[in-house]
């Protein structure tokens, strides 16, 4: 059967499933809409959280992100999983006990201040809107690549599907579609990974294969990869080539940022008990680890496999002739993700590090005139895997469905965080406190519809800074929301003045640092300093500043708290009560 028809059938079937779930899981009350009435099984919530969390970037780009840098990008693996320990130990159980609907609501009530709530809403909107742009563009790209439709048409189809289940079902619909989306994406990711692992190491478990013997050379796989890369003038895969301080701060920023993302936090509002919130975070990490332990293996193996394909007789012999290259390379060459240029007109593909000064003499000796794979998109390591391993067409169709599931599940979670902040924190709490539950449910649906329209528009007209915004989202979540939430629970004496001052200092310092190097509001050319390591303050990259912003937030809040008056007794009693699990069920209605 034609690949296009197969893709259409598999993607169509998953979409029909999502819409079916939406019709089954309609929301009847605001409690349904915001928190699925807190009736979600903790293991189901774990899987939903995993889908909510793992975006198109995790699914498509993560393996390549690790493979093209090696050890240095382990920060992503540790950072994007370590945040769940912070959630389970420091935030989720207490926020569940508090028993409200949104993150700004906790900040507003705990710090007894509408201004604190509004500052939190602003932080939430900046974080979630920047994040959703990436998801919408990811979905559009997946559509245009696999279903041969225009990017615009693809985005509109994706938005329509999200619209149906998010507007109808709210959190309830989103939860159960995310569960289905997790199953789709993990199956799609695992099947080709198992085959490439078997092919290279005879081990069916990719995570174990990464640390076992490379069948062809008889060497440990990672030693072989180090060897091949250094022979071609690249730095070795397992070595540490950045600065230690920056890597530590980057890892911490991702960890703290993960724990401060509102769309992840609200998932823990859906479980019945405080004990379930702890357990659910554990299950979420199990489901996430299934992909995150596989991704570095896929990256390393695909990289080694491609290098052996280009140099079939070893790196000291002539590389493969352009005419003899495998079919999958020709297929992906058409998409533009892979591009060759025969610089020395010898009809062969030389792939090496032409920026290495040590390797220049060897290259000159061999008559090489530059790296001839001029475009080598990192996403190809995941996208082309089924073809590299010569798997049947339905596996490639599954990858298409998996990539879309990853993008749509994250987009839906973000859209719910955005729309509930508007309908619950802005409309119900500040502008129109008198509205009934039914009216608020309608307001929530209307804000969701507007959020989807906005996200679609941003996906169609992506601002030029799409790549940098992820850094912004994590940096801001780490520097603003996480410290405020943590101090709200762990410091009984923390007051409005301290919390607001802390959030503002975190917000402004992080924005200033990022904009100094990446341009004001990411407008190219407006950066004060060039974004290179020599210019960074103490060698801290703008991507790693979130952890510093968090420290500034904590320090400011503490200093201001010492100079201002303690919170009222009822707030101190509230903190006492969220620290113990008993009574969580009673907190449902408010």
């Amino acid at each position: 059967m034609d690949q296009f028809v197969l893709n259409l059938i598999v993607v169509g079937a998953t979409f029909a499933l999502y819409i079916g779930i939406a019709i089954w899981a309609r929301a009847g009350t605001t409690a349904d809409y915001y928190t699925a009435s807190r009736g979600v099984n903790p293991i189901v919530n774990g899987a939903a959280t995993a889908a909510d969390w793992m975006s198109a970037a995790s699914f498509i780009s993560m393996a390549g992100l690790i493979a093209f840098v090696g050890y240095g990008n382990s920060s992503y693996l540790m950072g994007w999983t370590g945040g769940y320990v912070l959630l389970a130990l420091l935030l989720a159980p207490y926020l569940r006990k508090f028993g409200r609907f949104t993150v700004p609501e906790f900040i507003g009530d705990r710090f007894y201040s509408q201004s604190a709530r509004i500052v939190a809403v602003v932080c939430l909107l900046v974080i979630s809107i920047t994040y959703v742009i990436g998801q919408m563009t990811g979905a559009g790209v997946a559509f245009s690549r696999f279903l041969e439709v225009e990017n615009t048409t693809g985005l509109i189809i994706a938005s329509t599907v999200v619209f149906i289940y998010a507007v109808l079902g709210g959190m309830k619909g989103i939860t159960y579609t995310q569960l289905a989306q997790y199953c789709v994406l993990i199956t799609a990711y695992t099947i080709p990974a198992v085959f490439i692992s078997l092919q290279l190491t005879n081990n069916p478990v990719p995570a174990l294969g990464l640390f076992s013997t490379h069948a062809e050379s008889g060497l440990p796989l990672l030693s072989r990869l180090d060897e091949v890369l250094t022979e071609l003038g690249f730095h070795d895969y397992t070595g540490h080539h950045g600065t230690t301080l920056n890597m530590v701060l980057f890892t911490l920023s991702l960890m703290v940022g993960t724990a401060g993302l509102p769309h992840v936090i609200i998932r823990f509002f859906t479980v019945p008990k405080v004990a379930d919130a702890r357990k659910s975070a554990g299950w979420a990490l199990v489901f996430i680890a299934l992909l995150y332990l596989t991704a570095p293996a896929v990256g390393a193996m695909a990289k080694l496999n491609i290098l052996s394909t280009i140099y079939p007789d070893g790196t000291s012999e002539a590389p493969i002739a352009y005419a003899d290259k495998p079919d999958w390379m020709s297929n992906w060459e058409q998409t533009g993700l892979l591009r060759f240029e025969d610089k020395n007109d010898d009809g062969r593909i030389q792939y090496y590090n032409d920026r290495s000064e040590d390797f220049a003499s060897i290259a000159a000796e061999r008559g090489w005139e530059g790296n001839e794979i001029v475009v080598f998109n990192q996403d190809i390591l995941v996208l082309a895997n089924p073809e590299i391993a010569q798997l049947p067409g339905w596996v490639l169709a599954l990858i298409a469905a998996g990539g879309l599931a990853a993008a749509l599940s994250t987009a839906a979670g973000l859209l719910l965080a955005i729309s509930s902040a508007i309908s619950h924190d802005v409309l119900k709490s500040v502008l129109m406190p008198g509205i009934s539950d039914r009216q608020e449910l309608m307001a929530a649906r209307i804000s969701m519809a507007f959020a989807i329209l906005l996200a679609t528009w941003l996906g169609l007209n992506p601002p030029g800074f799409a790549a940098q915004v992820v850094a912004l989202a994590f940096g801001l979540a780490a520097a603003t929301l996480f410290p405020a939430l943590m101090m709200g629970i762990f410091s009984q004496k923390m007051n409005t003045e301290g919390a607001v001052a802390g959030m503002l200092v975190g917000l402004i310092s992080t924005l200033t640092y990022i904009f100094t190097y990446l341009g004001w509001f990411f407008v190219p050319g407006t950066n004060l300093l060039e974004n290179v390591q020599e210019n960074w303050l103490f060698g801290i990259s703008p991507l790693s500043f979130g952890a510093v912003g968090a420290v500034l937030n904590f320090a400011t809040a503490w200093a201001v708290m010492k100079l201002t008056k303690a919170p009222p007794p009822e707030i101190q009693a509230l903190v006492e009560s969220i620290r113990v699990p008993r009574g969580a069920a009673g907190a449902i209605d408010h």
């Binding site: 690790i66 050890y71 382990s74 693996l77 540790m78 999983t81 370590g82 769940y84 320990v85 389970a88 130990l89 420091l90 159980p93 995570a207 990464l210 640390f211 076992s212 060497l219 440990p220 796989l221 990672l222 030693s223 072989r224 180090d226 397992t238 540490h240 230690t244 890597m247 530590v248 890892t251 911490l252 960890m255 008990k273 405080v274 004990a275 702890r278 357990k279 975070a281 554990g282 990490l285 199990v286 680890a289 995150y292 332990l293 570095p296 006492e576 620290r579 113990v580 699990p581 008993r582 009574g583 969580a584 069920a585």
Partner: protein, 88 residues
Amino acid sequence: MTNEHSAAAYWSANLRIITICMMIWALVSVGFGIVLRPLLAMLPITVGGTDLGFWFAQQGSILTFIALIFYYTWYMNRLDRRFGVDEQ
């Protein structure tokens, strides 16, 4: 919650276990995975042709995180019951 005294004792027991878990959390990730990697490399242990620090950075830390959360969950459920603050 029965009285002030046990509320304080429950909270300090919780803070103690959180502190222990967070120390392990930092040790296996930024510790073994990054800062202490050169020290670990001096041990005569290799994992799949590379040093232990690389394994911690790519797998060991994640596996430890999972163990930490489930351990904390188990410990807290026991603590909740002991202090009579569990959800009935």
